[in-house]
Every structure is written in structure tokens, then in C-alpha cells.
């Protein structure tokens, strides 16, 4: 890590805008993908690193991608061994709550979706969260995760199919 240097007023303004605009997405990404990771520590560390490397942050065209990459590297480097292993399909089926087609409110469905996403394999969950929470395009997700575009798409497809199975076909509305 570079030695900490004082921040100028411009540096501080840039960081404040990133904290306001990207902070929630970053926080949601860490919380939903890297379970067992202290999201507060991770996000604080990411913004501290951003302040340390303010010059490279300024040079980055997509500063949100810069922060997400820093968060991903931090979480994988520091907490790799703590990350839960992917559940097997059998365990997933056992842990999945029974579908109650048409009988639950939207809030309950959203809560079940959160749980279902949390049970997704890490690789699929990361693509889903980066797409839905961070709002990245699949090309950006592929670059961030370090996989081909097709791999990112297939992971998203597999995740959605899995969610469909969990929630039941009647709850799935088409989205385009």
C-alpha cells in the first residue's frame, strides 16, 4: 500500500461523490456476495485504498468499476478461506422453502428471493449481484470477474433458472 498522503480539496470532493454514488452498490455487493465478510470493514478499506491511490483512481475511466474491483480483491484476498462453500444441489433443495404459488405477498416473495440468491453458488451469486445491485453490463461483469463474456452470461442464466425452480414458475415475470 502506498504511504498515506494528504488529500486535497479536489480529492476529497471526488471521494465524497463516490461515497454517495457508489457506496451503496459497493456495500450491497460485498454483503450479498461475500458472506462472512464484514462489509463495513471491507467498504472502509476500499475507500481508504482509494484515498491512498487517488491518482490511479482519478485516471480510471470507470471509477465504480475501480472500487468494485478493489472490493473484490480485498474480500477474496483477506477472506477467501472464510467464504462458505457452494451448497450442493441436494442441500439446496432441502433448504429451499416450499413454493406457495399465488398465496404470498410481494414482500414475502422479495424476502424469499433474497434467501434464494444467498443460497446460489458464489460464482452465480456474484454475477447476479453485479448485474442487479451494481448495475453493471455483462461485458463489465466479465472483465471484473475475469471470465469470458459467455461464461458470465451462462452463470447468470443458470442462476435465474435456479431461482425459477425455487420460487415456482407462477412468480416469474418476464423482464426485458
Amino acid at each position: 500500500m502506498n504511504p498515506r498522503r494528504p488529500l486535497t480539496a479536489d480529492d476529497r470532493a471526488l471521494l465524497e461523490s463516490l461515497l454517495r454514488d457508489c457506496g451503496p452498490r459497493l456495500y450491497g455487493y460485498v454483503r450479498k456476495v461475500f458472506r462472512g465478510v464484514d462489509a463495513d470493514d471491507a467498504v472502509a478499506e476500499v475507500f481508504a485504498r482509494a484515498a491512498d491511490n487517488i491518482a490511479s483512481l482519478r485516471a480510471a475511466k470507470r471509477k465504480d468499476l475501480y472500487l468494485l474491483t478493489a472490493a473484490r480483491n480485498y474480500c477474496r484476498d483477506r477472506y477467501r478461506r472464510k467464504l462458505p462453500t457452494t451448497m450442493s444441489n441436494e442441500r439446496l433443495a432441502e433448504s429451499a422453502p416450499p413454493a406457495t404459488a399465488g398465496s404470498e405477498s410481494r414482500d414475502e416473495l422479495v424476502e424469499r428471493l433474497r434467501d434464494a440468491v444467498a443460497r446460489l453458488p458464489e460464482r452465480q451469486r456474484e454475477v447476479v449481484v453485479l448485474r442487479m445491485t451494481a448495475g453493471l453490463k455483462f461485458e463489465e461483469i466479465a472483465k471484473l470477474v475475469g471470465v469470458p463474456l459467455g461464461t458470465a452470461l451462462s452463470r447468470m442464466s443458470a442462476a435465474v433458472q435456479r431461482l425459477r425452480r425455487e420460487l415456482g414458475v407462477t412468480h416469474v415475470c418476464g423482464r426485458r
Binding site: G28, V117, C173
Partner: protein, 201 residues
């Protein structure tokens, strides 16, 4: 475009529940976390817009260090080992000489070291005078009592002027400057001022 194709491929094959966006919406940062992050930035001087620009700190600190190291000592008071005048016993003549010298030098205070320096200068002048006297006494330049004219028939005023010149040179070596009619007028053995000794600056 490539990105559009990718988005279309995804949309064709992977329609997802619209509730998924709600379920995975970004979460607001906890206030405690925001305060923690901002506190870290503040420790780095991120709030410097309220104070002195950080880029000025190093030059100003260097200037302050130089001032403290080199400039301020010049304005310190005299060292404690220097005591005020009065502790050195002086003859009336020495006192008059020294007072006159200090008046010429425009010194506003007299210390022991200064008195020693001036006393040494006075002694040197007296030595010069004594060296002049044997020459006068042996008849080559004059008599014992200043009244005997020199063999070369040089006028007394010349001899006196010579003595005065030597005295003036001695004073000059010390950096003294005597004005015409000033108080640092040399005197003869009878403690009388030389009549024709006009020491010009």
C-alpha cells in the same frame, strides 16, 4: 454493437423475476460506516480547505526552522558571564579614555570584556608613547622633557603629531574613528592634550 448483442442474448435466454431487482437493490450505507470513512479521510488532511493548504506546510516549516536556528539567536540578550561595567578599577585617565572611546563607537553599554579590550588598547598606546620617548631622550628625535628640540630641528608639533598619528593608527586598528575635536584626543605624559593633534576621520 457487441455489448448490445450481449444484452440481447441475455434478455432472450434469461428473463428474471422483476422482484429480483427489488430484492437486490443497493443498500444505503450505515451512518456509522460513513462517519468511519470520513474520519479516515479527515486524518489524511482531507478537510484542509478549512485551513492552510497542505502544499504550503513544508516551505513554511522550513522557513520557521531557519528562523529559529539562525535569526532568533542574534536577538538574544548578553550571555550571563558578561557583567556590567564598574567591576574593573580604572584610573581617571583610563575612565576618560574609555568613556570617550565608547562615545565615539556609539556603544550603548559597557561590559567587562569591552573594558579589557579598551584597557589593552590604552596600554598599547602607552607603550607606543614610551617607545617614542627613548628616541626623544637619546637626542635623535628630542629631549626628555619634550622641550628639547630634535636634532633634525623638527618642530615639536611634528613630534606630537607623530605620536598622535601612532595613537590614531592604534585606534584605527581597533576600528575606532576619532572626529576632529572629539573626545578621543590623545594626551601627553602630563595628561595634557596634544596641541596640534587633530585626528581626522
Amino acid at each position: 454493437m457487441f455489448v448490445d448483442d450481449a444484452e440481447n442474448r441475455t434478455a432472450r435466454s434469461d428473463d428474471w423475476p422483476e422482484e429480483l431487482e427489488t430484492a437486490l437493490a443497493p443498500e444505503p450505507l450505515p451512518e456509522a460506516l460513513v462517519r468511519r470513512i470520513r474520519a479516515d479521510w479527515d486524518r489524511r488532511g482531507g478537510a484542509c480547505r478549512r485551513g492552510l493548504p497542505i502544499r504550503w506546510f513544508a516551505p513554511l516549516a522550513a522557513a520557521a526552522a531557519i528562523t529559529i536556528a539562525f535569526v532568533l539567536p542574534q536577538y538574544q540578550t548578553a550571555p550571563p558571564e558578561r557583567t556590567a561595567a564598574g567591576s574593573v578599577a580604572l584610573s581617571p585617565r583610563e575612565a576618560a579614555e574609555i568613556v570617550a572611546a565608547f562615545d565615539v563607537l556609539r556603544w550603548d553599554s559597557v561590559f567587562d570584556e569591552d573594558l579589557k579590550t579598551v584597557s589593552a588598547a590604552v596600554a598599547s598606546i602607552d607603550r607606543d608613547l614610551r617607545e617614542q620617548r627613548p628616541k626623544l631622550r637619546d637626542g635623535r628625535m628630542g629631549g626628555d622633557d619634550w622641550d628639547v628640540p630634535p636634532p633634525e630641528s623638527k618642530p615639536r608639533s611634528y613630534l606630537e603629531a607623530e605620536v598622535a598619528r601612532g595613537r590614531r593608527e592604534t585606534l584605527g586598528r581597533m576600528g575606532w574613528v576619532c572626529a576632529v575635536g572629539g573626545p578621543a584626543v590623545p594626551t601627553n605624559a602630563n595628561k595634557e592634550p596634544f596641541a596640534n593633534c587633530e585626528v581626522k576621520s
